[in-house]
Subunit: 157 residues, 6 copies
Amino acid sequence: MLTHIDKKGNAKIVDISDKKITKRMAIASGKIYVTNKILEQIKNNEAKKGDILTVAKIAGIMAAKKTSDLIPLCHPLKIDDIQIIFDIDNSKKVIYAEAGVKCENKTGVEMEALTGISIALLTIYDMCKASTHDMKITDIQLIKKSGGKSDFSLESI
Amino acid sequence: MLTHIDKKGNAKIVDISDKKITKRMAIASGKIYVTNKILEQIKNNEAKKGDILTVAKIAGIMAAKKTSDLIPLCHPLKIDDIQIIFDIDNSKKVIYAEAGVKCENKTGVEMEALTGISIALLTIYDMCKASTHDMKITDIQLIKKSGGKSDFSLESI
Amino acid sequence: MLTHIDKKGNAKIVDISDKKITKRMAIASGKIYVTNKILEQIKNNEAKKGDILTVAKIAGIMAAKKTSDLIPLCHPLKIDDIQIIFDIDNSKKVIYAEAGVKCENKTGVEMEALTGISIALLTIYDMCKASTHDMKITDIQLIKKSGGKSDFSLESI
Amino acid sequence: MLTHIDKKGNAKIVDISDKKITKRMAIASGKIYVTNKILEQIKNNEAKKGDILTVAKIAGIMAAKKTSDLIPLCHPLKIDDIQIIFDIDNSKKVIYAEAGVKCENKTGVEMEALTGISIALLTIYDMCKASTHDMKITDIQLIKKSGGKSDFSLESI
Amino acid sequence: MLTHIDKKGNAKIVDISDKKITKRMAIASGKIYVTNKILEQIKNNEAKKGDILTVAKIAGIMAAKKTSDLIPLCHPLKIDDIQIIFDIDNSKKVIYAEAGVKCENKTGVEMEALTGISIALLTIYDMCKASTHDMKITDIQLIKKSGGKSDFSLESI
Amino acid sequence: MLTHIDKKGNAKIVDISDKKITKRMAIASGKIYVTNKILEQIKNNEAKKGDILTVAKIAGIMAAKKTSDLIPLCHPLKIDDIQIIFDIDNSKKVIYAEAGVKCENKTGVEMEALTGISIALLTIYDMCKASTHDMKITDIQLIKKSGGKSDFSLESI
């Protein structure tokens, strides 16, 4: 059942008032393909790369905190932890990002992790777009979640 | 040159004070892979699909309007037009989204189009995730932009 | 006693630190008078009406979530459920809206329900104002609330 | 024609890219019915009333500034002036509010004036609700607008 | 240890998922030096002063509520109480402000108190700057906090 | 004259509708006193310092962009440039911050520069407060502004 849709087919928020508060976590990932030119600019100036990834991380953390303001039917909730890490694969010309979010709520934090990843990657795009627009953000997906009615792990699909 | 990085390698906003105000536009696209189960649920209830895509469209438009609040080094600007359209490919189990943004500013609206697409697709994810988390957002990229120092078209790469 | 006013007559937020967390709900309603012209436009194009009310509903839900950002002395709180429904009375040329909000907090959600209704009706106004500005939003009031120090029901006044 | 609806009946933002920038203004009004008890509390403590109306005015001004964040299909725009004034009619137990907004834009500021009025009146409700919930916000409407394609005056209807 | 920095030296949010929820409070203060001219304008029009300080108080309360939106690594949290008071010292030409914040959370509210003070004082600056820009905001600091792992009192340093 | 106060002494926004659009700039500064312990932690881990100041800079830039959302009577405006720089004086145990903002508007950007500085310094406080709360933010003031009715330079007072 699509729980965001009521019986008449209209969009609705999910009523979580009778749910238990449990410890929950979610991990999401995604990546951005850049060009050799961007990777070279990053390679030749370590300070620059550091800053790009720090700004992207901060943007992702701040966006995760405002998920319920961005995704119409998400519940506002408290967040206990948000971590975002990056990994660069020079041969594949890709920057990989992973976000982990923890909370103690009546509902999960998948959307917070996915939103954090999306805005972090968009921030990398923004900071590099003076060099080229030949970039692509891809493979944004949930890796794992636990603590809710049903756990999820990408590996087990 | 990475214009968001100053000479010492620190992140900075780009000074656009001496730029001319011109009419600008940008088109971005992206897609979300869903499951047969979700496509069936959508197929069997036309009203539901209509609502999911309307909610996603509204979320994308509202997110495009707050791009400068999400992407740290984006300039706040006025927007003249934001359109978001969807197309479903049942055989490939994919929902394709395209966003077009217009403005009359000193700087472009690529990030507004890309942010609108990202949040629209995340909203589809959110509204379908009660069915499955086996979804993937992918291929978020700029299709075209014009009106700035240099135009861009994905086809011409 | 006006609890938002301290002993010297200055505006203040109410200290709820010693209040118990209880399950609370509030229902508010309101309506917008439109013209025959708008009702005809809605009647002749069912898809249009669906969308107007869906957009209004989403706007109302999103506004209810940011009530504490709009009403200066409201406490920020978690919300478990927000539902907004509409009913059209063609003979009276009126669209009636009702919002129900649930939470488990130290303070009630009346303002969330009232804010959701107000923004939902303003959104209808916005979407129809190209046709006419001869519209009026009226009768925004609390219908019922429970779970706090004292319950309220409009019928019992 | 409902300009917020495209030819297929889907919600859309209005493309204002080819519109001229003109000086525009809009005046909206509304009122809140309160009880004798509230009016007495206000009467017996002038400082209190002053503060309630100042807080309501500030809330209305701040909400007018974030109209495009609240009403999904409103364009973000610069505002040159926002004034909100109140008038109390003790015999009718009503607080009347009027908001005037000016800008120099491609689109009008009716929604800014109407949103400012709505949030100002909701703030009065919030600050008095410890006394009673027997209040009603009513008659929110546009009084006048000028500077756009067509002017409007409530009197001329 | 700087808990906002992980082992590799990158900025991170502090994981509070295993912390206990306790009652916490924090008091912060600060001041703004103004000119004799401003103090005279305030003195000659009591209503004006009242309003300036009311607007500043409301701005401070609203800013305290959005601390986690402003300070990148602050956790979003519920707030039970925010009080802001002012004291004018005519001989020193200074307006002193103090903010007290209470909550029941896994983390403290120092930043909420400090942010409330900062924005309250900036609002005074804004409201008086038509008279002069010869003002200075200074001595923003924590006075006291309790309820966390370690209490703090400025006097005991 | 206090232009934010109308003739009856009530707070009001300044009507800028008849003002000319001119190029404007403002520079503000401020500082935070920290402890030897914090300076040592920063000194012994250069990467850490880099990140603290990058996060503070990003926080300041993002806050400057939302000034009109924080300071009640500030006009929403477009910003062309925001730069924030830091300087550490080890002997005085102080981190000095300076913000420069440029725009082309009907009104100035002093508040944007001052708000950017305030939030940047509060972010440093937040990131170091696990070490000690013995910090003080001080001397937030306008250094220079030009482009409006009257220029200002701190040196010329």
